[in-house]
Amino acid sequence: MTERKAAVIGREARVRGRVAGDEDLLVFGRIEGEVDLRGALRVELGGVVRARIRATAVRVAGVVVGEVVVADLLHLCSTARVVGDLRAARVVMEPGAQVAGAVVVEGEAREAEGPRRSFAEPSRARIQPQPLEATPSRSPRSPAGTPEPDDASTPRAARDVPGVVEAASPVEAALPAPPAPVIPEADVRPPSPTLRPAELRTHFVPPPAASAVAQALTEHRAWERDEGAASSVHDVGPGRVHVRPRGDRRPPLPPDERAERPTLMAPPPERPTSLEPAPERRVSYRPQPEASLPGTTGRASLPVERPTELGGTTGRPTIEARGRPQVDMEAGEPAGRPTVLAAQLGAPELGARALRTSVPSPSRNVASARARESATHLEPAPPGTRLEPWGEATRIEPAPEDSRTTLAARPGPALPLVEAVPSSTPPRGGSPSAAGRAPGPAVPAPRELRGTELPSQLPHPSMVAPSAVEPARRRVLVRLRRRGDED
């Protein structure tokens, strides 16, 4: 009576290389390399397999280092120590088993090229040199009517009974027969439907969507609080968030959709941006009369650009909620110099063309248009008044003493007499010369211009008496050309 014998790697044995076969293998010793079996592999206590394992069924009670791919059942005993990724159709882990790696349970057994075997089902393979392709079905579930080859030599009862093997060769008979593998009853039972603690490790339950959204929202708020962000996140409901950019002036959300945090109507004080108004300067939807531009009524809209150079304005444009820029200007002291407009407005006979050419107005400036419009309808300025730039010149004030211009309206003849600068005219920003202040009908001789100095006080032809200025103007012009030619 012989018994089925499986391949055995003894406790004192060590294999280096690749082990392949179509039978079961018991490892008590050590294997290093690769194991490719179409049967069952059993690593006993004390056995060490440092290899990539491919088998139909694997039972580990020792140490396995490497990737393990099992077609059917992977059983990890309590003394199992596995380092590597595990992939099997079924996985059983006893309490105490240690695994370091990924565990993938495919859920269905992959059909290997050969028959499916496990320790629960004794092998019925014939120990005969036969090619695998011609090997008949060795499944224990083969139809009863299917005759198996070579079955006449061995009775069916002997084949079906586990532990019954063929007659051994003389060499095998001389050696003591190894004991048959003892399979505990627990290995045969399929895993119970209820997950045991050991089995829970192999199951992955994804978190619900709501918790993922809440976690992401919490992380974003924490980051926004710490790092600052250009947007704010509002939790408007389960699984929904509403993101608004900073500076959004739209009305707040309804109460049922509003988050706990304050809305964006009140910008955070800790991070004021350049576009946000200062606390002391609020955006006024309806500008006050005193905050409006002098000489204008209502609301003037200016492009959102750099602060304009309107005389006397020190404010800066702000952004209205509706997207239309609104100028919130604070009229201050006229810091600039009175322009030619001051003199021109004192001459009602001047045309509108003269006004336009002398007013340094920025492009697309509605205020300038309004100023021009209002300026064209001004009454003749009474004497002794100084004209405010851009404003409705209802009265003209006398020019201050430190005024640099000689074009301001002065009491006297209706037409302001422009004095061609006879002597050294200070450059821009310089102190006015004494000669520039002195009025007089006589036109002094033009002075010599130095370098790139420009005649800043050249009168407009329509403003001066042609007889008095023209000779001087002609002379100045001639001199410019000569100077340019010389250079």
Partner: protein
């Protein structure tokens, strides 16, 4: 369990070392070194060096065979290589091709 048994369908591509007995029923493409008895079954094949305390060849061995006690070739055995052992037994019907060195007894570590 200290004995090693290489099954019929098992193929080892590499070397096998053991301090106990080794039975080769399958195929070993490499060296087989054991301190015990190395038995090559009639269905076994070894393509490499075989070294043991005693070597019983019933199958085929292609390589040098070294034993500290004896080398026995069965009637269905075949050795293609040199034999180095103090005692050599060749049965009727065995096949052998190589040289024989019947040196004095030496350990398997040589």
């Amino acid at each position: 369990m200290s004995d090693t048994r290489i099954g019929r369908t098992l193929v080892i591509t590499g070397e096998l070392e053991s301090s106990a007995d080794v039975v080769v029923v399958g195929r070993v493409d490499g060296a087989v070194r054991a301190r015990g008895v190395v038995a090559i079954d009639r269905r076994g094949r070894v393509a490499g060096e075989v070294r043991g305390r005693a070597v019983d060849v019933e199958g085929e061995v292609e390589g040098p065979v070294t034993a500290t006690e004896r080398v026995e070739i069965g009637k269905e055995g075949a050795i293609v290589g040199d034999i180095r052992a103090p005692r050599i037994l060749i049965a009727d019907g065995a096949r052998f091709e190589g040289t024989v060195h019947m040196d004095r007894a030496r350990s398997s570590d040589d």
